[in-house]
Amino acid sequence: MRLLPWNGRIIDGKILFDGVSIVDLDEDSFRRDYRWKRMATVFQGAMNALNPVMKVGDQIVEAVLSHQLQEKQNALQRVAELLALTGVDPRRASSYPHELSGGMRQRVMIAMALACNPEFVITDEPVTALDVIIRGQVLKLIKDLQRKLKLSVMLITHDLSVVAETCESAAVMYAGKIVECADIVSIFKKPAHPYTQCLVNAFPSIRGEKKKLASLSGSPPNLLNPPVGCRFHLRCPSALDRCKRDEPGMRDLGNAHYVSCHLTD
C-alpha cells in the first residue's frame, strides 16, 4: 500500500498490481488511481485505529471524499450502505468509537476499507483481540463480503486457525522471508517446512484426541543481524550442516506448493 514509515524503504523487487509496477509510480498517481480505490487496508488494532474524537460516520465520509469527487449527500448515502453491508445499524454512524463494541469497531473499519469499491483488500490481524464468538461473526463477514463483492483478500495474521477457517492458500513467513507457500489443505496436512510443521502442531484443539503440543525453543532472530545461511537453522529441530552456510532457494514441490528448505532437496 506504500504506507511504510519514514525510515522504511523498498529497496528491491517488484510489486505488480494487475500487471502494473506500482513501486515505480509517483505518489500522486498512486494515490489517485490505486490507494483506497483499487486496493485498501483494514488496519491492525482496529479498536484503536479509529479517531476517538470523530463520529464513525464522519470518518467513513472522510475516506469517501478524499478519494472520490462527490457531493456530501451522496457520501452520506454511501456510508449508510457500507454500514448496512457490514452488519452495523446505519444509525450508529453518529456514534463515537468508544460507544461501539470491539466487534462493531472492526466492522466500521471494514466498511471504511470498502468505501471506494476496491478490488483488493488487505486485512491486518482482523480478529486479534476479539472474543471467540464475535471473531466467528467477523470472519464470516469477511468471507461473505469477499464472495458478494468478488474481492481478492490478503489476510495477515499470526493465528493459524484464522487461516484454516478463512483462507484458500497461505504463505508462511519467518524472519522476513517466505518459507512456505501452498493451498490451505497442503499447509495443514502436508507442511514441508519445519517451522510450518511446528506452527501447525502448536495448536491445542477442542476436538479429537488430546495431543502433545509442539513448542519452539529460542526466539525470532534479530533482524539487524540475521543468522547466516537459513534464518531458521538455530531453532530448527532438523537442521543440517548445510543450513548453517547456505540460504535455501524456493523449490516447487508441484501443485503450486513452494518451500524454502534444504531438507526437501
Binding site: D131, E165, I184, K189, F203, P204, R207, A214, L216
Partner: protein, 333 residues
C-alpha cells in the same frame, strides 16, 4: 488426586459503583452498580488446575483478583485452607499472600522495566523477609529461575526485561510467583499474549510445576482449547455468573448450557477440512450495567423458554459433578 479443598469461594460478589452525574446526585437517584461478579461459588482441590473461562467482560479476571484481595469483595466468602480471607485485616492478608500468588497476562507490563531479573525475583523474598543474607537470597532466586527452565540462572540474573523474549519474561513472572513457595496460583490468561509456538512450552512448564510442588491453579482463559489442554475442571462464566461447571472432558463432550455449546462450536480449529457447524447466537454481550432479567443469557439464547425471562436459574447438578444453571437444560434431563 488429593480431594483436600484448598480454596472455597462462596457466593462471591464484586460490584463496582457507577459514578453518578450531577443531576442524578441532586435527584438522589439510586446508586447503580456494575455487578462484575455476582454470586460466584466454586471450590479448588489440592493439585488441581481449575479453569475459569468466558469472553471479555464476563468477570473472570475480577474473580481472580478478588480472591487474592487485590480487589475488595463486596460480599461472599473466600475460604483459603479454611480461613475466610474476606474477613481478614490487611496486615493478616500479607502473611497469607506467601501462599497465594498471581501470574498476569502481559509479560511486557508485569515486570518492572527498570529492575534486573535478580531484583524482580528477589523482591518477594525481601518483602516477606524470608532470607537472612544475600547468599540465601541468591540461592532462592537461582532455584526459582532453574525451576522455570531459565538455565543457567547466572546468565539471566543481570539482565533487564527488555533483553528477554516474551516467553522468557513470562517465565520470570512465574519464577517470581514461585519463589515464596505458594500453594495456590491465579494464572490470568498466562499465554494469550505469547506467540503460538511458545505457548506450549509455558503450559508444559506450568504442568510440571504443578506436579512438582503439588500446587493448585485457578487458570483464567478465554481460549477453551487451551483450557481443555490443562484444566482438570472447568467453569464457564457469563455476565458475572457461573453458568456451567464440571470435569473438563465432560463439559467439552457434552456441554449442557446453550452458551457453552455455542462457545465450543466457535472455538477455532486449525484444520481447514474440519466441519464447522456453528451454533449461532445473536448480538453481543450487553454493555449496560444492569443485566437482563431472569437468566442473563436469555436475550441471546437459541433455546429460551418463558421461565427464562423472569426466573434466574440456579446451578444444579445434572451429572456427576457436572452442574448447569439453565432451565432448558435441567428440564431436558
Amino acid at each position: 488426586m488429593n480431594k483436600e479443598i484448598v480454596l472455597e469461594v462462596v457466593t462471591l460478589k464484586k460490584w463496582f459503583p457507577v459514578r453518578k452525574d450531577i443531576i442524578s446526585s441532586l435527584l438522589s437517584k439510586e446508586q447503580t452498580y456494575v455487578k462484575a461478579v455476582d454470586g460466584v461459588s466454586f471450590e479448588i482441590r489440592r493439585g488441581e488446575i481449575f479453569g475459569l473461562a468466558g469472553e471479555s467482560g464476563c468477570g473472570k479476571t475480577t474473580t481472580g483478583k478478588t480472591i487474592l484481595r487485590l480487589l475488595e469483595p463486596t460480599a461472599g466468602e473466600i475460604r483459603f485452607e479454611g480461613i475466610d480471607l474476606a474477613t481478614l485485616r490487611k496486615s493478616e492478608i500479607r502473611a497469607i499472600r506467601k501462599k497465594m500468588q498471581i501470574i498476569y497476562q502481559d509479560p511486557y507490563e508485569s515486570l518492572n522495566p527498570r529492575m534486573r531479573i535478580f531484583d524482580i525475583v528477589c523482591e518477594p523474598i525481601s518483602v516477606h523477609e524470608l532470607a537472612q543474607n544475600l547468599s540465601e537470597r541468591r540461592e532462592m532466586v537461582a532455584a526459582a529461575l532453574e525451576d522455570v527452565e531459565l538455565s543457567p540462572a547466572e546468565e539471566f540474573v543481570h539482565r533487564y526485561p527488555h533483553e528477554l523474549s516474551g516467553g522468557q519474561r513470562q517465565r520470570v513472572a512465574i519464577a517470581r510467583a514461585l519463589v515464596l513457595g505458594p500453594r495456590f496460583i491465579v494464572a490470568d490468561e498466562p499465554i494469550s499474549m505469547l506467540d503460538v509456538s511458545i505457548r506450549a512450552g509455558i503450559l508444559s512448564l506450568m504442568l510440571k510445576l504443578e506436579l512438582k510442588f503439588h500446587m493448585s491453579y485457578l487458570f483464567i482463559t478465554h481460549d477453551l482449547a487451551v483450557a481443555r489442554h490443562v484444566c482438570h475442571r472447568l467453569a464457564i462464566m457469563y455476565l458475572g455468573k457461573i453458568v456451567e461447571v464440571g470435569p473438563t472432558e465432560n463439559l467439552i463432550a457434552n456441554p449442557l448450557h446453550p452458551y457453552t455449546a455455542a462457545l465450543m462450536t466457535a472455538v477455532p480449529v486449525p484444520d481447514p477440512t474440519a466441519e464447522r457447524i456453528k451454533i449461532a447466537i445473536s448480538g453481543e454481550v450487553s454493555a449496560s450495567p444492569t443485566p437482563p432479567s431472569g437468566c442473563r443469557f436469555h436475550p441471546r439464547c437459541p433455546c429460551v423458554l418463558d421461565t427464562c425471562k423472569s426466573i434466574e436459574p440456579e446451578l444444579t447438578e445434572v451429572n456427576k459433578e457436572h452442574l448447569v444453571a439453565c432451565h432448558s437444560a435441567t428440564t431436558r434431563q
